[in-house]
């Protein structure tokens, strides 16, 4: 059990018993995910705040020009930085990387960086010497479960919202135009991976789980902190709108049946599909709002000046 957060036996039994009856303590159904609340910064490109139930985090995307790796001269760099501080919850220690934290950052990394969600080749300015480095910093403000889901969503929204300054190349020199001078350029996103996490509870004994024919394991979507502390096993599914699984990760824990896994993957797809649409609408609305506020209409070709 995590340090600093204790759950009494009474509470433990109560949560498990209510799950058996199909209820959750916060009134959701077993397969109901919380609806995230996404706030885009009206002034800055690439700053996003996500409220996922009580879980809250902020993502800031920034860009700078650096030299590429020697073995990959045509590719830009992309880093995701996750540092979990005790501000989020007492169970995270400052400066010390616990296994849980490494697992979290590794999962986010695999979901977004390894799956090539961001097109790195489009970040190249001069092959072998100058490329853009995109950096996503995640700040965890409050923790109430679902940290992987929320941070991967946050990074993806922030990447789509971010715009890098326009540049022009003049021989060896590179001129970076400020945002006021020229319209900044959005990043090229290849696909939008969405992480959905599931938790498993074992209502019967472990012998029944391994030898029994009935599959009575309870699975819930998007758990809160209390449920996360009491879990017997967990699974993270990352999927995108194209019905591609990006990653599946069940790091040990309670053995679960394959049929259950297939069902969960299908559920995850429905949620990911809805979320992707929601993000798209939100970004479009933001774009429109900026367009009107900044009077970009005046810049369009054929505008009546």
């Amino acid at each position: 059990m995590a340090k600093g957060v204790e759950i009494s036996t009474n509470e433990q039994l109560y949560v498990l018993e209510s799950l058996k009856q199909g209820f959750r303590t916060d009134g959701r159904k077993l397969d109901e995910a919380r609806q995230p609340n996404i706030t885009l910064s009206p002034t800055e490109y690439g700053y996003v705040e996500i409220e996922w139930g009580l879980t809250k985090l902020a993502v800031r995307v920034s860009a700078e020009i650096v030299a590429p790796y020697e073995d990959r001269p045509f590719e830009g760099l992309f880093m995701i930085n996750t540092e979990i501080s005790p501000m989020a919850s007492a169970q995270f220690e400052n400066g010390k990387n616990s296994d849980d934290e490494i697992l979290i950052s590794r999962l986010i990394e695999k979901a977004i960086r390894r799956s090539n969600a961001l097109d790195l080749e489009s970040l190249c300015i001069v092959a072998g010497s100058k490329v853009w480095q995109i950096r996503a910093d995640i700040n965890f403000l409050n923790y109430d479960g679902g940290i992987i889901d929320a941070s991967s969503l946050g990074v993806m929204v922030a990447l789509q919202h971010f715009k890098k300054p326009d540049i022009s190349i003049n021989g060896e020199d590179i001129i970076v135009h400020s945002i006021d001078e020229r319209q900044p350029i959005p990043l090229s996103i290849l696909h939008v991976p969405i992480c959905i996490s599931f938790l498993f509870f074992n209502p019967v004994g472990i012998e029944e789980n391994i030898k029994g024919d009935l599959n009575e394991e309870i699975s819930i979507i998007d758990a809160n902190q209390q449920e996360e502390l009491l879990r017997d096993g967990s699974l993270v599914i990352t999927i995108n709108k194209n019905r591609d699984l990006i990653q599946l990760s069940k790091n040990g824990g309670l053995p679960i049946d394959v049929m259950l896994l297939m069902q969960l993957a299908k559920k995850a797809y429905v949620i990911a599909d809805n979320l992707t649409d929601k993000i798209k609408d939100l970004l479009q609305a933001d774009e429109k709002e900026r367009y009107e506020r900044m009077n970009l209409k005046l810049l369009e070709v054929g505008a009546d000046r």
């Binding site: 950052s105 990653q247 896994l261």
Partner: protein
């Protein structure tokens, strides 16, 4: 796309296997009787892994003591010469820590930890040679070593990797295949269809997942049989020695 023919129209793979065939799987138990309580050595194709189990024993630090169950501690050491390119590896690389925690959490569920309160079970893994299916090999080695150590477990955990080439699922990938197709590692509990661990790191179409899982489970059961044979053979030799005395 690879220049090599990973799966020929005749249905043969690079090393001459068909889609549903395992590589040579050989295992030995009780290989290091004087330096550990239980040990095993497995060869899965060219992947070679030694596993040694110490314990259940007194924890070195009092703070690690769990009064309700045994704690499992896994140390991974991957030899620098295990791949073609000799690499200097950092001990706390994120990928290795992920593998380590995955294995710890898997075996916390399949070892009957509550029988050994206030103890620690230390598992040392040495990877001598890597040729695909690293996580699978490590899981199988740990299962065998734990059995050799006489640690109570609910059932075998047998693991195997499976990949998807175009539309065809392939069983037990080697390094060449792993680099060029998406690969899934599963750990199956005994003869059931339950998964103790599951790891997919590359893209795979949702609609083809079921077929890959299906051959993975069949392969996992086959590996379990091979491990079971070895354990029984070893047991028979030992009991016959007892009769002779």
């Amino acid at each position: 796309m690879s220049r090599m023919e990973l799966y020929s129209p005749e249905g043969l793979r690079i090393d001459g296997r068909r889609w549903n065939e395992l590589r040579r799987f050989e295992c030995r138990i009780n290989t290091h009787p004087s330096s550990s309580d239980g040990s095993s050595y497995i060869e899965q194709g060219n992947t070679k892994i030694i596993c040694m189990v110490q314990g259940p024993m007194e924890p070195s630090l009092k703070s690690q003591t769990n009064s309700s169950k045994a704690s499992i501690e896994i140390n991974l050491s991957i030899a620098n010469f295990s791949t073609i390119e000799r690499k200097k590896r950092l001990k706390n690389e994120k990928r290795l820590i992920e593998l380590k925690t995955t294995l710890e959490r898997t075996f916390e569920q399949s070892v009957i930890c509550k029988l050994y309160p206030r103890t620690v079970i230390q598992i040392n893994l040495h990877v001598l040679c890597q040729d695909g299916g690293l996580l699978a090999g490590m899981t199988n080695a740990i299962t065998l070593a734990l059995i050799d150590a006489g640690v109570a477990m609910y059932d075998y955990v047998s693991a195997i990797s499976a990949g998807l080439y175009d539309q065809t699922p392939l069983l037990d990938l080697n390094t060449l295949e792993e680099n060029d197709m998406s690969c899934l590692t599963i750990g199956v509990v005994g003869k059931s269809e339950k998964l103790a661990l599951l790891l997919l790191e590359d893209k795979m179409p949702l609609d083809l997942l079921e077929s890959v899982l299906a051959i993975g489970i069949a392969g996992g059961h086959r590996v379990r049989d091979l491990m079971d044979n070895e354990v029984r053979k070893h047991g028979n030799i030992r009991s016959s020695r007892l009769v002779d005395q």
